[in-house]
C-alpha cells in the first residue's frame, strides 16, 4: 500500500512537472540567434557561453540562453534560469528592462507562470514603449487582455508606424473587443489619407472581417487615382483575386498613365495557372481586350493584348467542380460566345446546346459513357465548324469562340471515364 502511494505521488509529481513545463509562448530559432553565437549552436558552446562571466553582458549570452532553452528545454532549465537570474534582479548594477524582458520571455517559454507577472511589470513600470508593446503582445498570447485602453492609446498616437494598428487587431480577435476594433480599423481604411496606413489597417481588418475589408478597400480603389489606386488594386489582388478582372475593365479606360494602364492588363499565356490570373481567362475579359486593342496606344499594353489573344487558353475548372456544373457552365459559355459574335447562326448554337443538354441528361441517369459521346460530339462539331468557317455556310466560330468551347469540352472529357 505504501509503495502504491509512493508511486502515486511520483506520478502526480511527474504530471505536475509536465504541466509546469508547458510553454506559455513559443520561441523559434532565428538567424539572429545563430549570428549571436557566431554560428556555433552546439550545446557545448551554448553552455560555455552561459558559464563565462566575461560574456554576461553580451549579445552572445542572450542568444545562447535563448538557443539553449529551445534546444535543451527542461533539461537545461535550472541551469539557464540560474545563469540569467541577474537579468531579473532590479538591484543588479547593470539592470535593464530589455534583459528583464528576455528573462521573462525565456522563463515563459520554459513554463514558468511567473513570467506573466514579469511581462505585466514591464508594461506598468518600463518607460520603453517598444518593450511595453512587446510585453503586451506576449500577454495577449496567454489570454491576458488587460491593456486594451493602452493599445487604443498607441493606435491613436502612433504617427510613424503601424504598430498600433497591429496591436489593436490582436485584441479584435477576442469577441469582447471585436466590434470596437473593427470600428477603429475600418475608420482608417475608409478615411486615412495615408495609403500605407490604409493597407496596413486593411490587412489587419481582413483577419476580422474579410468581406467588409474588401468592400471598404474597393471603395478606396474606386475613389483614388494613379499609383495609390494601383496600390489598392494590388492589395485587392491578395484579398479578392477572383474579381480583379472586373476592376481592370473598370479602371483601364480611366487610367491615363501608360505604364500603370499596361499593368492592369495581365499577360495571359497558355497553361497559366496563377490564381490571380484565372478571372481574366474568361470570355468577358477577352472580349474587352479585343475591343480595347483598337483604342490602346501604349506598346506594352498592345503587346500584352496581342500575345494574350494569341496564346490564352481557358482556365481549367477546379478538380472538385461537379461535372454537371461544368456542363451548365459550358451551356452558359455557348450563349456568351454567341452574344460576342464569336459564334454565328442561331440554329448552330441551339444544336450545340441540345447536345450538351443530352449529355447532362445522360450524366444524371448515371450513363457517363453516353455523356462522354455527347460531349465529344459537341467538341468535334465546334472544331469542324471552326475549320470550315471560311465557307459560305452561315455557321461560324472565331478563334476565341473555338478556344472557349473546345477547351471547356476537353476539360469535361478529361473528367469522364473513357470507354
Amino acid at each position: 500500500m505504501k509503495s502504491h502511494l509512493k508511486f502515486f505521488l511520483i506520478a502526480c509529481l511527474l504530471i505536475l512537472s509536465k504541466a509546469n513545463a508547458q510553454s506559455l509562448w513559443e520561441m523559434e530559432v532565428s538567424t539572429y540567434h545563430i549570428v549571436g553565437v557566431r554560428g556555433d549552436t552546439s550545446a557545448a558552446n551554448l553552455y560555455n557561453i552561459l558559464q563565462a562571466d566575461s560574456l554576461k553582458y553580451t549579445t552572445e549570452f542572450n542568444c545562447a540562453a535563448i538557443l539553449l532553452a529551445i534546444y535543451e528545454g527542461q533539461t537545461a532549465k535550472d541551469f539557464i534560469l540560474e545563469r540569467i537570474a541577474f537579468w531579473g534582479d532590479k538591484n543588479d548594477q547593470f539592470f535593464n528592462w530589455n534583459n528583464y524582458f528576455d528573462y521573462q520571455r525565456i522563463k515563459g517559454y520554459l513554463g514558468e507562470s511567473s513570467a506573466i507577472l514579469g511581462m505585466d511589470s514591464i508594461v506598468l513600470y518600463s518607460s520603453n514603449l517598444s518593450l511595453q508593446i512587446n510585453a503586451i503582445s506576449y500577454l495577449i498570447e496567454v489570454g491576458q487582455l488587460n491593456y486594451f485602453d493602452l493599445a487604443k492609446g498607441i493606435f491613436n498616437n502612433q504617427q510613424d508606424t503601424n504598430v498600433g494598428i497591429s496591436l489593436l487587431s490582436q485584441y479584435g480577435l477576442d469577441p469582447r473587443f471585436r466590434e470596437e476594433v473593427i470600428n477603429h480599423l475600418s475608420g482608417v481604411v475608409r478615411d486615412s489619407s495615408d495609403s500605407y496606413k490604409v493597407i496596413s489597417a486593411a490587412r489587419n481588418l481582413a483577419e476580422l472581417d474579410k468581406n467588409y475589408t474588401i468592400e471598404l478597400l474597393e471603395q478606396r480603389f474606386f475613389e483614388s487615382d494613379g499609383f495609390t489606386r494601383y496600390n489598392f488594386f494590388k492589395e485587392l489582388d491578395v484579398l479578392d483575386p477572383q474579381h480583379q478582372m472586373e476592376r481592370s475593365i473598370w479602371v483601364i479606360p480611366l487610367e491615363l498613365d501608360d505604364d500603370l494602364r499596361s499593368d492592369y492588363i495581365p499577360y495571359l499565356f497558355e497553361g497559366d495557372i496563377d490564381f490571380s490570373i484565372r478571372g481574366y481567362l474568361s470570355p468577358m475579359w477577352i472580349n474587352f481586350i479585343k475591343n480595347w486593342f483598337y483604342v490602346e496606344t501604349n506598346d506594352v499594353a498592345l503587346f500584352h493584348i496581342r500575345s494574350s489573344l494569341e496564346d490564352f487558353q481557358p482556365a481549367r475548372p477546379d478538380s472538385t467542380t461537379p461535372i454537371s456544373d461544368m456542363i451548365d457552365s459550358l451551356l452558359f459559355i455557348v450563349d456568351t460566345v454567341k452574344s460576342y459574335f464569336w459564334l454565328g447562326d442561331l440554329n448552330f448554337s441551339n444544336e450545340l446546346k441540345n447536345i450538351l443538354t443530352t449529355a447532362k441528361t445522360n450524366l444524371q441517369n448515371g450513363d457517363s459513357l453516353a455523356c462522354r459521346v455527347q460531349v465529344k460530339a459537341f467538341q468535334e462539331l465546334v472544331d469542324n465548324v471552326y475549320r470550315d468557317s471560311l465557307n459560305s455556310d452561315a455557321r461560324f466560330v472565331t478563334i476565341e469562340g473555338w478556344k472557349f468551347l473546345y477547351w471547356n469540352a476537353q476539360y469535361i472529357l478529361d473528367r469522364l471515364p473513357k470507354p
Binding site: V29, S30, T31, Y32, H33, I34, V35, G36, R38, G39, D40, S54, L55, Y57, T58, T59, F61, N62, Q93, F94, N96, N98, N99, D102, N128, S130, I133, N134, Y138, I140, T161, N162, V163, I165, S166, L167, S169, Y196, I199, S200, R203, N204, F227, Y230, N231, K234, V238, D259, S262, D263, P266, Y267, F269, D272, D274, I277, V300, F303, H304, D311
Partner: protein, 319 residues
C-alpha cells in the same frame, strides 16, 4: 593664452572662457578642438588633457555612426588608418534557411582574422571612443562618446533563383528570358515579389528574383533598425547624463573618472547593442509579419519600375 577659431556660446550656462573660473587653473594653451562640443585645454596637472564641455547637454547619437554592409563588403577596424588591414563581411553564410532571400541584422562583433569560435576581436562597445569633458558650472565630468560604430549587415542573399537585378541589364534579360513561357513566368514572379511573400503564405517565386527589390525590402528593415538604434542610444545618453554624476571633487582628473567608470559604461553600451540586435527577434509572429508587410509595401514602387523596364524590353522581342 591663445584662443584660436571663432567662439560660439550656444548655451546659456556656458560662460565665456575668460570669465570661467575653472579656466584660471589651467596652465598652457587653450584652443578649439576639432569637436564642436568641447574645448581642449592642454597642460594641466592631469595625465589626460581636460576637455571643457562647450555644450553640457545630453549627447545625441550621431546617425553617421551607423554603417551599412552588404555581403562581401569590406570592414575597416581603423577607418582613419589607410594601412590597417580590412576584413570581408560574409553575413549571408549565417542565413538559416533557403526561403529567406535577404537579411538585416546589427553586427554584434567581428573576427579580425583569428580562429572562428573565439570571442570577437572587435565589438561596437569595445571599440567605442569614450571621453569625458568637464562641466565647469557644475564641476562634474560629462561622459561623451566620440565614436560609437554600429555596423548593420543588410544584404540580398540569393539561393536558387535567377537574379535579374533591377531589370535594366538587357544582356541578362536576353539570356535568361528566351520565350513567351519564360516571360509569363517572369511576370508571375514579379507579381509575387510585388505583392510580397508575407501576404501570400505558401506561394513561392518560380524562377526569378530581383536584387534591387530584395535590397530595398532589406533597406526598410535597415531604416527601422537605424531608428531604433538612434532612439535607444539617445535614451541611453540621456540616462548617462542624468544618472552618472562624476563630481570633479571626487575625480580630479578625467582619467580617474574614466578608469573608474569605463568598464561599466562599456557593459551598458553592450547591453544596449544586444537590445538593438534582438529588436526584431523579440517581436511576436504577428508583429514580425506586420513589419514584413510594411517592408513589402515600401518596395512595391521598385517592383513597379522593374516591371515597366522589363515589359518595355519585351515588346521588341520576336518570340
Amino acid at each position: 593664452m591663445r584662443i584660436a577659431g571663432k567662439i560660439n556660446y550656444p548655451t546659456q550656462q556656458q560662460k565665456p572662457l575668460k570669465e570661467n573660473t575653472a579656466a584660471y587653473c589651467f596652465i598652457g594653451e587653450i584652443y578649439w578642438n576639432y569637436r564642436d562640443d568641447a574645448i581642449l585645454v592642454v597642460g594641466d596637472e592631469c595625465d589626460e588633457e581636460i576637455l571643457v564641455c562647450n555644450n553640457p547637454q545630453p549627447q545625441t547619437f550621431n546617425p553617421l555612426w551607423i554603417e551599412k554592409y552588404k555581403n562581401f563588403s569590406y570592414f575597416y577596424p581603423e577607418p582613419s588608418n589607410p594601412n590597417a588591414p580590412n576584413y570581408i563581411v560574409a553575413g549571408c553564410q549565417l542565413k538559416r534557411n533557403n526561403n529567406v532571400q535577404g537579411i538585416t541584422f546589427i553586427i554584434p562583433g567581428m573576427y579580425l582574422g583569428k580562429e572562428f569560435g573565439q570571442n570577437y576581436d572587435w565589438t561596437p562597445s569595445s571599440s567605442a571612443i569614450i571621453n569625458l569633458c568637464l562641466n565647469e558650472i557644475e564641476q562634474r565630468w560629462i561622459i561623451k562618446f566620440e565614436e560609437l560604430r554600429i555596423p548593420i549587415f543588410s544584404s540580398a542573399c540569393f539561393e536558387g533563383y535567377i537574379d535579374l537585378g533591377d531589370g535594366i541589364d538587357t544582356t541578362i534579360l536576353n539570356s535568361e528570358i528566351q520565350s513567351k513561357s519564360d516571360y509569363a513566368i517572369l511576370l508571375s514572379d514579379l507579381d509575387y515579389w510585388e505583392k510580397g511573400s508575407y501576404s501570400q503564405p505558401g506561394k513561392k517565386s518560380h524562377k526569378y528574383a530581383f536584387e534591387s527589390g530584395i535590397l530595398k525590402h532589406e533597406n526598410k528593415h535597415f531604416q527601422i533598425d537605424s531608428v531604433y538604434v538612434v532612439n535607444t542610444f539617445n535614451k541611453f545618453f540621456l540616462d548617462l547624463f542624468n544618472s552618472w554624476i562624476l563630481d570633479k571633487s571626487q575625480y580630479s582628473c578625467p582619467e580617474d573618472a574614466l578608469s573608474s567608470k569605463e568598464e561599466s559604461i562599456r557593459v551598458f553600451t553592450s547591453n544596449e547593442i544586444s537590445n538593438c540586435f534582438l529588436r526584431y527577434d523579440n517581436l511576436k509572429d504577428w508583429e514580425k509579419k506586420n513589419e514584413e508587410l510594411d517592408c513589402d509595401q515600401y518596395v512595391r514602387p521598385e517592383y513597379k519600375i522593374i516591371r515597366n523596364r522589363i515589359q518595355n524590353w519585351a515588346t521588341n522581342k520576336s518570340w
